[in-house]
Subunit: 315 residues, 2 copies
């Protein structure tokens, strides 16, 4: 049987998406369910099985040779389990074995959602052609993933690239993760909005206090809004520079809602990067916006499945 497709699952706190994807990253079939995030683990799994059922029921399914899962973290690829923060019914949940069962025994590859998005940007997006890249999602949280030596670097448990929870301010504000001064604690959308409000910024008549509203105010010249984005940019720059100094990357790709803020973010970010990326071998680092859209998680999970298929074929 010729298997020229892979199956992909993108599992988040809001939705569970599935797809059959070809070797060029094209989505040939898709399925989706809302995540019953507050239900028990078996109920959440049923939503995964229903999503998968729409794929296995298709005549295209016979052409699928492997299945990739990008899941909200933490994940543990070494045990095949997941414990997504926003899905309390799943703690050390054996997702890989359950999905393998529902997928008729296909080889299954599990990676964290930041790693999945990185795989997508490297395969089809802004990191294409770069052998050493950091890809980030700056949104409600701050996530990421790494490409090193031309390969996705998922790490033994599939969690590598968690740049949102490195501390760039060791005496800084407590982060929900337990540490202090994490990149996410300073640069996530909710923290950009919180800081602006704390420093006197007030929303317009629509009452919108999101980071996008702060970005609008910053574009209009509001100094408190500008300063909140500058502080976020400084934390992101310190984190990106730390990553480059540790592993050598030549590009950082930034996506997610905050990443869409444009010059309000990228202007101060590029400036701050010069302040922290000082050693000769990190000075050529560039920062660019992400290119992949909402399908990034699916396309990245498909990339991981393809890589697994290739590895299996080589053995």
């Amino acid at each position: 049987m010729h298997t020229d497709l892979v199956a992909a699952l993108d599992i988040g706190g809001t939705k569970i998406a599935g797809a059959l994807v070809d070797g060029h990253g094209r989505i040939l079939l898709r399925a989706q369910r809302a995540t019953p995030a507050q239900e028990d683990g078996d109920t959440v799994m049923r939503a995964v099985e229903e999503t998968l059922g729409e794929l296995t029921g298709s005549p295209l399914w016979a052409r699928a040779g492997a299945l990739g899962i990008g899941s909200a973290g933490p994940v543990d690829a070494s045990t095949g389990t997941v414990s997504p923060v926003n899905v309390p019914g799943w703690r050390d949940y054996p997702l890989v074995s359950r999905v393998r069962e529902a997928a008729g025994g296909l080889p299954v590859e599990l990676i964290g959602d930041g790693v999945a998005i990185t795989a997508a940007e490297h395969w089809q997006g802004a990191a294409r052609g770069h052998d050493n890249a950091l890809c980030m999602v700056v949104s409600t949280g701050v996530g990421g993933g790494l490409v090193l030596n031309g390969q996705l670097h998922a790490g033994p448990t599939g969690n590598a690239g968690h740049i949102g929870h490195i501390s760039v301010d060791l005496d800084g504000d407590p982060c929900p993760c337990g540490a202090r001064g994490c990149v996410e604690r300073i640069a996530s959308g909710p923290n950009i909005a919180r800081r602006a409000l704390e420093n006197g910024w007030r929303p317009g008549p629509d009452g919108d206090t999101s980071a996008a509203a702060v970005a609008d105010a910053a574009r209009g010249g509001d100094p408190v809004a500008v300063a909140s984005f500058q502080r976020a940019a400084q934390a992101l720059a310190a984190g990106i520079a730390a990553t480059a100094t540790l592993v050598e990357i030549d590009i950082a790709v930034i996506g997610g809602g905050v990443g869409k803020a444009g010059d309000v973010l990228f202007g101060p970010l590029r400036k701050a990067l010069g302040d922290y990326a000082t050693l000769s071998f990190v000075q050529r680092l560039t920062i660019v916006p992400a290119q992949m859209g909402t399908d990034a998680g699916l396309v990245g999970a498909a990339a991981a499945a393809l890589a697994k298929q290739d590895t299996a074929a080589a053995v």
Copy 2:
């Protein structure tokens, strides 16, 4: 011709060491010169050539199949050049081509000194058997290197693992590198001593104001000395936790003069690591002292040469 040996060079600001090393990491022949660090580039190169000459003049030389160089940084493995901070006569100096010439055309591998020490600890020392490790030297400066997926991760230019110059305090004191709040700026030996002196610690009758003297005072219960080591430990912990969170490592090996301080450093370091290494996948991380002695640079350069030889043989 059977080549069961490799040649190794360890080039620092104080000495240039050379050796012939076998496949078990044993040094069969060694040579050494003082580094004429303040002389012009050609004079420094002559000291390298003299060191090499003692190796090439030996009957053992015919058994050497490759040569590894571990050099004070920055290095640029992609161009084969070095610009060691402490050797001003070498700026973008074409060390690889000059050494290859002096070594009769042997394949030459160039890595930074932190990467070399990491290669040695992974091959023969405290990181043996660990597929994902950070090795550090905490001394006059703070350097390091990474093993990822069982392989030395040197990065495209040979500089990966520069943990001393990641910022863990983005508003902190200016570092000579140009950034602020770098791990080295807080945790190096001279900074441990400076902080103790600034806070009122005074040396004994011998006038010794080194970090080793501060460590002695800390062991004797001097609270200012204890606090200076605690602050260094906090910065090291934040840097190590950041590294683990970014790339997934399960062991951090610490060597160098400050690394020899023992419990005065390792006690607060292990405690502080718990404060910063919070995500589930980094909680199993352990910190241990280095095992390799002063030959680490040579043994690591030899390891890099052996890896290059294996790669060449596989092609």
